[in-house]
Structures are given as structure tokens and as C-alpha cells.
């Protein structure tokens, strides 16, 4: 089994088609269903949605001192909106979960293998 990060890519100020209340309910329901499906398949490790990038804080060491600044670290139009960590037999299996996730959240998903995943 390999663990994969499925990261959800959100675009700042994406105002194209703001979801209606009903669409949001629908999307929420689909995400819940996907979580259940992942769990019953034994593929779920962790998942979560993130607050806006404005809420992020950056901590780093500069000249031996801890410096804390307002985030995010990279100012970009695209940011991490949330993520899943799953385990799957191979990339093809992970891509099947990713296609379900992108259908549920309506945003592109990036699939990354974790480096050391064997427990």
C-alpha cells in the first residue's frame, strides 16, 4: 500500500459561478458520501477542509531566531483548499479516488505519493 495526498486546488476570488445554497448542500452531501466510501474501503487516512489562506501563519528560523509572520508562505492565486490522505494499491487506484473527489468538490485534485509510507 502506498499513501497519497489528494490536494484540492482552490483559486482565489473565483467568482465564476458562486454555488447556490442547494448546490452547496448537494456538494456537502457528496463529500460526506465519499468519506464514508473511503472509510468502508479502508482507504481513508485523513481528510479535511482548510480555512482561507488569510488565516495561515508562517513560522521560520531566521538568524537563529524564530520569526512568525502573517501567511500564507507563497502568495499565489491558487491555494490549498483541503486535502485527503488515502492509501491505495497503486496510482491507478488512487486516480479512481481522485476522480470521485474532484466530482464531489468541483475543483481540480493533485495526486502526490508520500515518500516513506510503509509503516
Amino acid at each position: 500500500m502506498t499513501q497519497y495526498l489528494l490536494s484540492v486546488h482552490s483559486v482565489d476570488g473565483e467568482v465564476g459561478n458562486p454555488m447556490t445554497e442547494e448546490e452547496m448542500q448537494q456538494s456537502w452531501k457528496q463529500i460526506q458520501l465519499l468519506n464514508q466510501e473511503l472509510k468502508s474501503a479502508g482507504a481513508w487516512v485523513f481528510s479535511g477542509r482548510l480555512h482561507d489562506p488569510d488565516t495561515a501563519t508562517v513560522v521560520r528560523i531566521s538568524d537563529g531566531e524564530v520569526v512568525t509572520t502573517d501567511g500564507p508562505f507563497v502568495e499565489a492565486r491558487e491555494h490549498l483548499g483541503g486535502f485527503y490522505i488515502i492509501q491505495a494499491e497503486d496510482l491507478d487506484a488512487a486516480l479512481v479516488w481522485a476522480s470521485k473527489a474532484t466530482a464531489a468538490v468541483g475543483k481540480p485534485i493533485e495526486v502526490w505519493p508520500f515518500a516513506a509510507t510503509e509503516a
Binding site: 502506498t2 494499491e89 497503486d90 496510482l91 491507478d92 486516480l95 495526486v111 505519493p113 515518500a115
Partner: protein
Amino acid sequence: MGDGDAPAIFDQPEVARIFREESGRSVATLIRVVGDIDLAEDAVQEAFAVALRKWPAHGLPPNPGGWITTTARNRALDRLRREARGRELLGEVAVLSSGDQEPGMPEEVGPVQDDRLRLIFTCCHPALSTQAQVALTLRLLGGLSTDEVARAFLVTEPTMATRLVRAKHKIKAARIPYRVPGEHELPDRLRPVLAVVYLVYTAGLTSPANPDLCAEAIRLARILAALMPDEPEVAGLLALLLLTESRRASRLAPDGSLVVLGEQDRTRWDQALIAEGQAIVRRCLRRNQPGPYQLQAAINAVHADAPTVEETDWSQIVALYDHLLAVAPTPVVALNRAIAIGEVQGPAAALALVEELDLDNYHPFHATRADLLGRLGRHREAAVAYQRAAAMAPTDAERDFLRRGGRASR
């Protein structure tokens, strides 16, 4: 060689021939057995080095390919065992999952699941870039050295080596599986495989370098057609390549300039390739599951039937293009359909269709416009269009051809 990939093997023509024919099969089997691409490549190279030492003295074994695979497998498993002593598990090394076979189990290849089929689907996995797909396929299945692949695509050897290392690393790290996709995935997964083989062929047409990529593409298409006899588009691709190849010798004038279809010396077309390609097209027609490659093959089969350009069955070609446009609605197909319509209804009808197309960055679009304008007597506009086409043409042969106003040098 100066390459390090195939030390001194090419000094012996017979071993070189066997290497070209058998290394893809051996590498494919070894990847399944040891679960690691680099280890498989090294082991097959070592086995050929052993062959070079042994065969001249002892003569060729009855089944040279099988001998190479067995020798490579023994070497690879020895190496795994040696390395595994320091570790605990032999299986740890095996990272490519084939799903149905534990690594380290020696098993003969059955006729049903040739390992080369797994290998081409792994090389052409959609998670890899097209460039990486092409490079991996030529390197692992075609047995080309890194240097040969680099020369074919006009990049330096280190650039190509880096591209291959990255692609192999992604296969390993992301765990791209080593198996033939299931029936339901096949349409999506077959598309890049066919595209890669076609791309290798067209690369061979525009860079007539050594090694001969056209021949390599046809070899790959033959392997695919033999391994997937039930896929009509695989047969269609092979037929398309054979029929295109039948005209390759007459495509270029002695000075290297391009000769268009209508002006080619048809007595120089390779009749054996035409017969083989047309037989496949007829089988495809009987099967009646048309797709883009089969339809393009059928169009080429109609051209091959005509002893002179005047005797071409253009209405048949238009009908095939109508069909092709329905299954593959791209502007390039629409352009070629317009050219065929020009032969049936005249240049004015064709020009009207061509003017509607959004292909400003595609030099054949300007060349076609130029030809149609010329035939309508609008020579000034034609000259401008020829200049635009020539400025965008990718090869010297095409540029010269277009600068002369679309006529072969005589």
C-alpha cells in the same frame, strides 16, 4: 558508442540484430520478475555482454531471446539475493505491482499476457508527459540507447537521460502499475499508446535520422496488433503506418524537397506494404467498428488503389472524411476534407470551407489556401499565402517546396 548503455554489442551484427529484436521482450519480462525497471535494464545489458563473450565460441543457442531472458533473470535474482542479505525482505525491492504475480517467481511467459503489453501501458500511462511516454517506449521496448533516443528528438544526451530518469522515478514513486488495463479502462488507456506509436512514426518522417524511427514505429504497431487482435483501432494504426510507409521513398525528391501525393512517381510505391495495409483495411471494414486510425487507413487505401492521381476515387475519399470528421471533429480533419471536396466540386467550394477554419498557426492551412487561390487564378493572394506557409514550415524540404509555389523541383 560512448554511451554506456550497450557496450560493444553493436560490433557484432548478429548480436546487434538479436538485441534490437529481443531486448524489449526480455526487459518487459525482467521488470515483471524483479519489479524494478533499472535493475531489469541492467540485467538484460549484462546478459547481452555475456552472450557476446560466449556465442562466438559456442555458437548461437537454439532460442537466443529465451537464453537472454533466462540469463538476465538469474543475474538479477542473484543480485537481489546478495542485496537482500543486508536487508530482511526480498520483496522490499519489488516496487512495481503487476497484481497477479509475486516478484521473484520464475515463470514462463504465456501467449495470453505478453509482458511487452504491460510494459507499453506502463510507459504510456497518462500520468506521464507525452515526451516521457515516447522516450520510455523507445528506450525500454525499442531497445534504443539513450543517445539514439536523444538524437531522434534533437535533444542532447544528458537532457534525454534526465528525462528518462525522471519518468522512471515517477513510475516507482507514484507506483504506476505494471499491468494491462481492464476492459472498462482500455479505451482511455489505449489512446495514448496508439498516439505514441503514431508520434514515433511521424518523428521518423521529419527527421530521417539513424535509427529509423518509422521502422521502429511499424515494429511496435505490429507487436501491438499481434498482442491485441481484437482492437480494431490497433489494426487501423498498423494499416495506416504501412500504407504511409509504402509512399515514403517517393515522398522526397533527390535534392530532399517534398513531393506532394499528386506528383509522386506511383511506380515507386511499395506494393507489398500496400497489399498488407489494404488487407487489414478490408478486415476492419468487415468488423465495422470504425475509429480515427481505421478511417485514415481507409483513405490511404483509396489513394493506393489509384494508378494515377486523376483516377483517384475522390467521392469515396470525401465520404471517408465525412465519417472521420464525425468521429474526430478537429480543424485539421476539416482541412483535409475540404481538400478532397476541392477535387470533386472544384477549388471555389473548397476555399469557402477552408476560409472558415481557425488554423492560422498550422502551415498546411496556408499551403492549402495558397494552392486553392492559385487554381482560382488569384495569384497575388496565393503568393502571400505561400510565403506565410513557408515561413512556418518545420523542415527545409517543406520550406523549399512552398517557396517554389508548391511545386517539386525538377
